[in-house]
Point group: C2
Amino acid sequence: MTQFINAREVVVSEAIDGVLRGAGGRLARLDGYPHIKVVVRTDWDKSKVALVSGGGSGHEPAHVGFVGQGMLTAAVCGDIFASPSVDAVLAGILAVTGKAGCLLIVKNYTGDRLNFGLAAERARTFGLNVQMVVVDDDVALPDLPQARGVAGTLFVHKVAGALAEAGESLDDVAAAAREVIAGAVSIGMSLDTCTIPGSPKENRILQGHAELGLGIHGEAGAEQVSFETARQAIEMVVGRLAPAMKPGPHAVLLNNLGGATQLEMSVLAEELAKSAIADQLRWIIGPAAMMTSLDMQGFSVSLIPVSEEAERALLAPAAPTAWPGVAPFGAVEVLPLPDGLTPIQPMPSENPARRTLIARCCDILIDAERALNGLDAKSGDGDTGTTLATAAKDLKQALDRLPLADTTQLYRAIGMELSQTMGGSSGVLLAIFFAAAGDASASGQTWIESLSAGLDRIQQVGGARPGDRTMIDALAPALTHLGTGFATAATAARAGADLTATIGRAKAGRASYVSEDKILGHNDPGAEAVARLFEKLRDACQ
Amino acid sequence: MTQFINAREVVVSEAIDGVLRGAGGRLARLDGYPHIKVVVRTDWDKSKVALVSGGGSGHEPAHVGFVGQGMLTAAVCGDIFASPSVDAVLAGILAVTGKAGCLLIVKNYTGDRLNFGLAAERARTFGLNVQMVVVDDDVALPDLPQARGVAGTLFVHKVAGALAEAGESLDDVAAAAREVIAGAVSIGMSLDTCTIPGSPKENRILQGHAELGLGIHGEAGAEQVSFETARQAIEMVVGRLAPAMKPGPHAVLLNNLGGATQLEMSVLAEELAKSAIADQLRWIIGPAAMMTSLDMQGFSVSLIPVSEEAERALLAPAAPTAWPGVAPFGAVEVLPLPDGLTPIQPMPSENPARRTLIARCCDILIDAERALNGLDAKSGDGDTGTTLATAAKDLKQALDRLPLADTTQLYRAIGMELSQTMGGSSGVLLAIFFAAAGDASASGQTWIESLSAGLDRIQQVGGARPGDRTMIDALAPALTHLGTGFATAATAARAGADLTATIGRAKAGRASYVSEDKILGHNDPGAEAVARLFEKLRDACQ
C-alpha cells in the first residue's frame, strides 16, 4: 500500500465516516453501507427544494464536503471514479425530497446520467417532483458533443443552493442551474497522473510536458503540451477559455486537482491576475481543492459570467466548510516599510579606559584565531577562530564611531556592529547578548548584572544550557565570579572551558550532529575563546 | 520545471501576492520585496497585543493563511525552508506593535530562534514591549533536548490569538501561549519525501516503508518503519503520543503535510476515532493542510489537553480562512434507509392481447441474438444480442406477475423488470424509457404519446440525438409513424436503422470510441434490434 488507506474496498466508506466524525452533527449518512453511500444534512425539514448531487468518489471534498446549508442537501457517493448505483441515488432522493421537489445536479458522464436518470424515474413513481440538470463545462474537446462535467459543477451547487435555501420553486432553481451551466466553462492542466488507491500509477506524461484538457477520472488529457512556467500554463489555459467567455465580469474558480502545493496554486492565482482576461475577473473562489482527481498535481480554471442574480447567489452564506467562499479578485495592497529598519547611529563619544579594554579584547581574539580554528575542526568546519578574529578586527576599526562614554548605548552599538559584521549563529547570539545587556543597563543595572542579563537572554533564545558544550559553559561561571574580580572569573572560565572536553554529546549547536569520539578530549572552541578572553584580561590587569 | 512556478527565486513572493489578490482587502504586505516578505492585517489599530509568527516558507497555508482577526497579526516569511532575516522580522514587529506589546511565536529551529530573537532585541531598543515563545511540540526524538516546532504551533496561534483579540495583556497572552506549548505534542508520518521547487526529489523512503517522526523541512524522519495500512499508521503515531498525553479531554489537530489526498486524511480521521486514545479526543481541528512540508504525502497528529479556558480560546471566532475550525469529535450519525427502495410489486392482472404482444416482442429479440451480436462485434464487444435476448427471456418468465390489465402499471413494471435483469447502459436506458412512458400514461396520455415521452426522456438522460448512431435512429422515426400503423412504423424504423450504416462517427455510447472504417457499412445493433422488432410485429399483424 502506498497510501494511507486500509483497503480499496472500504476507502470511500471509511473516509465518509471520517468526515462525519468531525461534522459536529450537521451531517449524517444513510444506513446502507457498503452499496449505498449517501450523506445528508441533518437540519433539513424537506420544506424547500432539495439538491442532490454526487457521482464517483476520488473528487474530495466533492461531493460530501458541499452538503450543508446553502449548498447540497445530499451527496450520493460511488466508489472511486465509479457512478453510484440507481438504488443509492434513489435512496438519496427519497431521504430528502418533500413537496417542494428535488433537483439532481449531475456531471456529464454516461454512468452518472443513466443512474441518476433512472433513479429520478423511480422517484417520480412515488409522486415526487424531480428534475435533473447535466453539467458539461469542460471546453477541452470542443468537437465532442458531450462535454464533460468538471469543477464548474461547483458554480451550479452554489447558485442553485442559494436559490433553494431562499425558498425558490423547483422550476426556478432548475432554470437558474441551467443558466449557470450554459455560461460555465472550465479546463484543467496537470503535470502528473493521479494514483488510484490499490492500483499502480500510470506515468504517461513526458518530462517537460503537461496534459491540457483533462477530465477528473484519470483519463488522459486532450493533448500533451510542453510546459515551462506557471505563467505559460495560465496563458495556455486562458487561451482556451477566452473564446468561450461572454462579455462582462466573471467569477473564476481556481481548483486544485489534488496534488498541487498551495505555493503553486497561489502562484497560479497571481498569474491569473496578470493574464489577458484579468480585467474580466471580478470574483475568485479559491485557490482550493474543491473538485479533485485524487492526488493529481494539476489545477483547473472555471469561469462564469456574473449577472446581479448570480453574484447574489454566489455571495450568499453557505455552511459547508469545503466551500472556500467568494472574494473580490483585486490588487495587492502594499504598505510602506516601517521606520526604524535602518538603525540610528549613536553619537560617538570617548572613554579611554573602555577604548583600551575593547581593543584588548579584540586583540586577544585576533591572536587566538588559529588555535580556535583547530578546535573547531574537531566538531565543525574549522572557522570559529576566523569568524571571531574577523569580527574583532572590524570592531577595532569601528572604535572611533562607538558611543564609548555611554554604557547603555555602547552595549547596543557593539551588538549592532556584531550583527552586521559577524556571520553565522554565533554572530546573532553575540548581538543578542550585547543588545540585552544594553537593555538591562538602560534599566539601571550594573555592568555585571547587565552582562548576566545578556547571558540569560542568549540561553533563552538559543536554547543552550550549561553542560551543553557551548561558550556558555565558560561564560556562565565567569560572570558568576566576575564580582570578585577578573582573576576568579578567569579561573572559573578556564575550568568551565576545560570541562567541555569531557562532554561527548553536544546538546545544542552544530556539534550536536557530530559523533562522540570525535570531540571528546577537545574543548569547545566558543568556550575556549571565552576562557582565553578572561585569562588574558586577568593577565593584563595584574 | 516540474511544478507550477515561474522561478525558485520568486516563488514565495509571487505566491504571497496570489494570496493577497483574493484576500478581499483584509491583508496587505509590507513594501520590502524580495528580502522582506511580511503580511499584516489591514484591520489593525495596534490597540491590542500583536502576534507575529512566521519562519521559512513551504508550510502553506502557514503562516500567511493564519493572519487575521483572532489569530496572527503579522506573518514574516523566509524563502523555502529558510528563516526570514532579522530585518524582515523587525519590520513585521514594527509594523504592528503598539503600546500593548507584541508576542513572537517561533518554531524551535535555530535560525528562527536567533533571527526572531535578535529582531526582538532591536525592537526593544525602540521601547517596544516584545516577548517571544518557542514552540517545541515534536515528540519524535525524545532524547533531543531541543524538540522541533511543528503543527502544534497552530494551537498557540489560535489560543494566543483569541486572548489577544479579547484584549488580554501581553503577560497573560504569553503565559497562555507557554501553557499551550507545555501541553502540546505532535508527531508526523510520511510515505514520500517532499519536492523542493527547483531541486531534484530525494527518494529515500524504501518501498513498503514510511518515515515516522519527521520535521517539516524535508529532513529525514527519526526512523523508517514498515507501513501497511492507515490503521497501523495511526496506531504507531498514537503509540508515540499517548505517553506524553495528560489526563482528561484533548483537542486533536490532524494536519495534512501537503500531498496526502483528502480521502486518505479522512480515513486517518476515522482511524483516530477508533484508536486507543479516542476516548480522550473531545475536539478535532481538520483534517486539513495547515502546516505543510510542500507536497509531502504525509500527515501529523497534534494534541493538547483542553482546560475550560483553552476550549474557549480554541472555539472563539477566527477570520483566517485557512483555519478549519474546531468541531466536536464524535460518533457517526446513521439514519435509516428511506422506504421505497424495495419496489412494491404490482398486483398481477390479465390481458391476453398484451400478453401475446409482449411474448412476441420477446421472441423476436431472442431470435435476433446471433445477428445482433455479429453487428455489435464491429463496434463493441459483441454482446448486444445476448444482452437483449437474456432480458427478453427473463421478461417472458415474468409475464405471470405483470399487471397486464393496467397500462400505466405495466409500463412501470416492465421498466422495473428490465432494470433488474438487464445489465449495461442499454438496460438502464430501456428502464428509463418504460418508466417515463408509465408516467405519461398515468397523466392520461395515449400509448403512442407515452412511448414518445419515453423516447424524449432517454434522449434527455442519455444525451443521444437522432443521427448519433444509436437505437434512437430507428426508434424515433418508428414512433413518429406509429399512429398510422405498424407497417409505416416498420418501414420508417428499417430506413432509420439502415441509415446508421452510413454514420461513420458515433457521437454517443461506446461506438464513439471506435474508428470510422470499422463501423461504416454496418447497422448499429440497437437500431437494428428496433427495426427487426417493428418489422416482425408488422408481419404478425398482416
